[in-house]
């Protein structure tokens, strides 16, 4: 790879790359992000390559290309395949489909109906990616390029205009100018706190001290959130370019990607991207002839959620346990090795090239007064179209969940959407029409957080959700300060008791009191926000807490200690299905004997409830009421009369 020494040479290189690519040549793009890989995408790719060999189509040079890409977001329907140049989108592709796709679509230009997207309500099929409602209702500035790029090829990134922003910044703008531009764009940090990025850059720029550092916080630890994973795996160059521009603006010459080790593919792709950028001279000395030097290293996390907190991340970068420290002083003043450091989230950095290329209005023209631009959310849980969605700030929750997400599966009722991970809160139905932005979410007791949106339905127990988050946090807390370590410990104890049917009068008030101390006196934001899921669910779902405590009842039939499964003797037709499937062998009965669950052996796994045929619907869930005693043995025989009724 030749070293590129000026913006002009970059444009020559880009022209050269494009001239060798025939836009009319068929290309099969297969998503090989971690999600699709989990669904077998590697075997799909292998099947295509096998087909090419069989039909002697060659790979890169001759008649058809195959491109292994990053995640475009429609994870629910993976493995995803898009055929270019027509942009025909096939979903849930299996290795066995490869033969048909190559012969029918690629060679004969015919569409395979059964692989298309079908709208569940209208039955309408969509051929092109852009027509699919899931994608159509998004604004995919950051993630839209993922399907067009092989993340292991910097040339693919250059082909879609990559590095033009860096060339512009280094060649036509002063560092101060870049800072002003980012300030004008009103870009707020996408990692959770939403602090104005431009202001943060300015602090770091103005702080005395050298060297200065820039860091990409890729420790995406919120369970349920995987936006950063998709960006890093799918288009690491965009983040690298943004980081380089930021380094130039702040006056830093050394950068780090702090990537959690649970994302091995992201680590691999970022490392490769850095190598390729170094080869072209987009990193290293005298970048694009500007005189600006910048090197970047990848640093892996080692399995600690708290290292997403910036001071904890810095400790980890220094090779120490990730214990946060007090702020002030802020990292912009005293950060890595006590020097001025600017840390931003992956998505924040990825926005920077777009702002430099298109101006501040690119962001300010989208969104609400306080929150500009787009945000990638991971829409998961009880929703039809689970995956990553990039939408403008200000879109309503209802639109995200129903228009883009396709609503709740199985005809169930929406209950809440959890936003912001363990620091956030659950938003109930009455707020579905709020416009999603940093401030509006805060008003209803949640936070934007990094963008995890977990949809919950009537089968979710909100007390269990609170317990779940505290259980998560008690292990992830660094344990240094007493309010967090001890406060969470005691709150978890209370919630566990409540879920086990041992709740007492006064528990809710004690939770609130503990929550207050933990929130106000903790050292860092992990402890400071730990009570949020508890306090928030008490605010909106107090009735569930009271049912658990006063009636020993779990309204959602989740808390095992509070539920029992019972076979209604009036409905059981002795079909033996549940008897056979029960993993604890807790059901007695026979061909004409009503089935009875032995409550002592029952593990409350719910299998019988799921497998009982719907025409019988004989298994019921009970909570807060005693289980009816079993029908006496001699009365369990079913005598089938002409209508098949009971004895």
């Amino acid at each position: 790879m030749p070293r590129i020494n000026s913006p002009a040479e970059l444009e020559e290189l880009r022209k050269g790359i494009l001239s060798k690519r025939d836009p009319k040549k068929p290309c099969i793009a297969v998503c090989t992000g971690t999600g699709c890989l989990a669904l077998g995408a590697a075997r799909v790719v292998a099947a295509f390559k096998e087909e090419f060999k069989k039909k002697a189509l060659g790979t890169k040079v001759d008649l058809v290309n195959i491109r292994e890409t990053g995640c475009p977001g429609f994870c629910e329907r993976g493995p995803l395949v898009v055929i270019y140049p027509e942009e025909i989108c096939y979903l849930r592709v299996k290795p066995a489909d490869a033969e048909e796709i190559v012969s029918q679509t690629v060679l004969a230009k015919k569409i395979i109906d059964r692989l298309l997207y079908v709208d569940p309500l209208t039955g309408e099929k969509s051929v092109h990616e852009s027509e699919i409602p899931f994608y159509k209702n998004q604004m995919r500035h950051l993630i839209g390029n993922n399907i067009k790029i092989d993340p292991k090829s910097i040339d693919d990134y250059l082909a879609v205009g990559g590095y033009s922003a860096l060339a512009k910044a280094l060649g036509q703008m002063t560092p101060e100018h870049v800072v002003e531009l980012v300030k004008d764009s009103n870009l707020r940090g996408r990692g959770g706190a939403g602090f104005p990025a431009g202001k943060k850059w300015e602090f770091a720029r103005k702080s005395p001290g050298n060297p200065k550092y820039v860091v990409v916080n890729a420790d995406e630890g919120d369970p349920g959130a995987f936006m950063d994973r998709a960006v890093l795996e799918g288009n690491p160059f965009s983040v690298l370019e943004g980081l380089t521009i930021g380094a130039y603006a702040i006056g830093s010459h050394e950068g780090y990607f702090y990537v959690r080790q649970e994302y091995p593919l992201a680590v691999e792709n970022v490392t490769l991207a850095i190598q390729q950028a170094e080869e072209y001279g987009f990193l290293g000395k005298n970048i694009l002839g500007s005189g600006f030097d910048f090197t970047v290293r990848v640093h892996r996390g080692a399995g600690a959620f708290v290292c997403g907190e910036e001071t904890s991340l810095l400790m980890s970068l220094e090779g120490k346990p990730g214990e946060p420290r007090a702020r002030p002083p802020y990292p912009a003043v005293k950060g890595l090795r006590e020097k001025p450091t600017n840390i931003n989230n992956v998505e924040t950095w990825a926005n920077v090239p777009l702002i430099v290329n298109n101006g501040a209005e690119f962001l300010t023209s989208i969104g609400t007064k306080g929150s500009k631009g787009t945000k990638i959310f991971s829409l998961v849980g009880k929703v039809n179209n689970t995956g990553l969605v990039e939408v403008p700030m200000g879109i309503t929750l209802r639109d995200i969940i129903y228009k883009v997400g396709g609503g709740i599966p199985g005809g169930k009722r929406f209950k809440a959407v959890q936003s912001g991970g363990p620091s956030g809160g659950c938003i109930p139905e009455q707020y579905l029409d709020i416009k999603v932005d940093f401030d509006e979410l805060k008003k209803v007791g949640a936070i934007m957080g990094s963008g995890g949106m977990i949809v919950m339905d009537e089968d979710t127990c909100m007390v269990d959700v609170a317990r779940y988050f505290l259980n998560f946090l008690t292990g992830e807390s660094c344990g240094k300060c007493s309010p967090c370590r001890e406060g969470i410990r005691q709150m978890l104890k209370i919630l566990t008791r409540i879920c086990e049917g041992k709740g007492e009068e006064g528990d809710i008030e004690l939770l609130e009191e503990l929550g207050e101390t933990t929130r106000d006196a903790s050292l860092c934001a992990l402890g400071g926000t730990a009570p949020n899921p508890v306090l928030n669910t008490i605010r909106y779902f107090r009735d569930e807490y009271e049912a658990h405590i006063k009636e020993k009842r779990c309204p959602a039939f989740v808390c095992k200690h509070l539920i029992a499964y019972h076979i209604d003797p009036g409905k059981c037709q002795a079909c033996m299905t549940c008897l056979r499937k029960c993993p604890a062998q807790a059901i007695t009965g026979g061909k004409k004997q009503i089935h009875v669950i032995d409550q002592d052996k029952c593990t409350k796994c719910g299998t019988c409830f799921e497998v009982c045929p719907s025409k019988f619907d004989a298994v019921e869930r009970l909570s807060g009421v005693p289980v009816p005693p079993p029908v006496p043995e001699d009365a369990r025989r079913i005598v089938r009369e002409s209508k098949g009724k009971k004895r």
Partner: protein
């Protein structure tokens, strides 16, 4: 000499730039309780007993006075309903671990903390870290250290080092507010020190 003027409990206090609220308060004879603080050690900010209310930048928040640097026009309250409530709760949480600690009992009396509010916890270390930090910063031996995190965080002696260094030191013992340090040392000595007689 750079001086900063701030208000503590309604009084004007002159402090040197770079001082913490705790240092400034002490210089003015104002008392703030501490547990994990020690003059010979870097401030740690873990026990949070020293929290005070501070008005800065239009906001009021609880901050650890042992760490928070003084700022011009900072308004600090070392006692208030919020401060007292918080200290009481922290004490009650710590008393669940070490109900018999004289230091904790003394503070509990002042703030009306109930030692039986929470069920007793099995570990009687309150993780103030004085022993670890003293061995690290003053003695520079690192014979005792932190392990694990969250609710599983604990302090243990490192047998290979403690067996060589501690026998004529033990300066961390009197620092420990709960006597856990002594107990942990002796237990480690009995169960885990490398056996000298096996080297033959």
């Amino acid at each position: 000499m750079n001086e900063t003027l701030l208000k503590i409990d309604g009084r004007d206090v002159r402090a040197k730039q770079g001082m913490t609220i705790l240092e400034a308060a002490r210089s003015a004879g104002i008392f703030i309780p501490t547990l994990c603080h020690h003059e010979k050690l870097q401030p740690y900010g873990a026990c949070r007993i020293c929290v005070v209310e501070a008005d800065a930048g239009g906001r009021t928040s609880l901050v650890a006075s042992c760490l928070y640097p003084v700022e011009p026009d900072l308004v600090v309250r070392t006692r208030s309903e919020k401060v007292d409530k918080t200290r009481k709760m922290i004490l009650e949480l710590l008393l669940a671990h070490a109900p018999d600690s004289p230091r904790l009992q003394e503070l509990a009396q002042e703030y009306g903390a109930d030692r039986d509010r929470f069920d007793k916890e099995s570990a009687f270390c309150i993780l103030c870290g004085l022993c670890v930090r003293y061995c690290n910063e003053v003695k520079k031996k690192n014979a005792v250290g932190f392990f694990d995190r969250g609710a599983s965080r604990e302090i243990n002696f490192i047998p290979e080092i403690a067996s060589k260094e501690c026998w004529n030191c033990k300066e961390c013992f009197p620092l420990c507010p709960t006597s856990y340090a002594q107990a942990a040392y002796h237990l480690t000595e009995a169960l885990a020190f490398p056996c000298r007689s096996s080297r033959r």
